[in-house]
């Protein structure tokens, strides 16, 4: 129950932050990537603001044996940088640039512009499924 409340609070605050920061506006996000056009540096300020509390959180994690409402921290293993990571990130950046949408703002955008947000989310779900069944078959076999 406590875990569920924490999750809802985290997601709601996250979505509110996306809306207040202007990151829910795909045109503004794309303008950050538009260095030869009307460049908009707002995203850099958002990143700075978001990294600050998280840097403190990581500091606390190193000094706490367990999270507040769970048995253990599930932090990603420090595996090496491989072609899968770079290729996936490169692909993600291309999709991000095309319309200025990444997963967070797209899902939060359901409350603002439901139709285009839903189209993006449905296509993204298809992409997740394509990855699941086409790219991970060798690894999971």
């Amino acid at each position: 129950m406590r875990q569920n409340l924490i999750s809802l609070a985290s997601g709601t605050l996250f979505g509110a932050g996306l809306a207040i920061s202007g990151m829910i506006d795909p045109a503004r996000v794309r303008a950050f990537l538009d260095v030869t056009g009307a460049w908009d540096p707002t995203l850099a300020f958002v990143m700075a603001g978001a990294i600050l509390p998280m840097a403190i959180a990581w500091f606390v994690v190193r000094r706490r044996p367990t999270p507040i409402a769970a048995e253990q921290f599930h932090t990603p293993a420090t595996s090496p940088i491989d072609r899968r990571l770079i290729g996936g990130a490169a692909l993600f950046g291309i999709g991000w640039g095309i319309v200025g949408l990444c997963p967070g703002p797209a899902i939060a955008g359901l409350a603002i512009q439901p139709l285009p947000a839903l189209v993006f989310i449905a296509a993204m779900a298809l992409g997740v499924a394509v990855h699941r069944f086409a790219f991970t078959s060798r690894r999971s076999a």
Partner: protein
């Protein structure tokens, strides 16, 4: 802001702080990374591992809830592209890319960079670079005017 008439540095920083605190609540409360692409895949039942389904679902559902509250109380400006086919193509690429690369702007950009994770730094530099190249190509070829 000087030279950048549309920039919102203050709103951006405040909204960014909220995003960072939200991710910190998830990490310190549930011991989980607030990565939206990973949570989304978990909601769909298409991720190997990941948090309990209820955690992923409630976090994901909170995103439009929080954005909706802000939109209703303060108002929000958002101009989505008009071409739904272009949006669909981008969504498909983002879906494949974020899974292959194990994260997006939130997981790598916020949670990973703040941890100084070499993988997340490499991923963030890469997706920012290909994002800039993509937008620049679209601008030079007249897709964006």
């Amino acid at each position: 802001m000087l030279g950048f008439p549309h920039a919102m540095p203050l709103e951006g920083f405040i909204g960014g702080l909220m995003i960072g605190v939200a991710a910190a609540i998830m990490l310190l409360g549930n011991g989980r990374i607030a990565g939206v692409s990973g949570m989304f895949a978990r909601v769909l039942g298409l991720s190997a591992g990941g948090p309990p389904w209820a955690i992923a679902l409630l976090f994901t559902a909170g995103l439009p809830l929080g954005a909706g509250i802000v939109a209703a109380s303060l108002g929000v400006k958002a101009s989505f592209p008009t071409s739904l086919s272009l949006i669909a193509v981008a969504g498909l690429i983002v879906g494949i890319g974020t899974r292959l690369g194990s994260g997006c702007t939130s997981g790598h950009g916020v949670c990973g960079l703040s941890r100084l994770s070499p993988r997340s730094i490499a991923a963030t530099v890469t997706f920012m670079a290909t994002g800039v190249v993509t937008v620049t190509i679209m601008r030079l070829s007249g897709v964006i005017l």
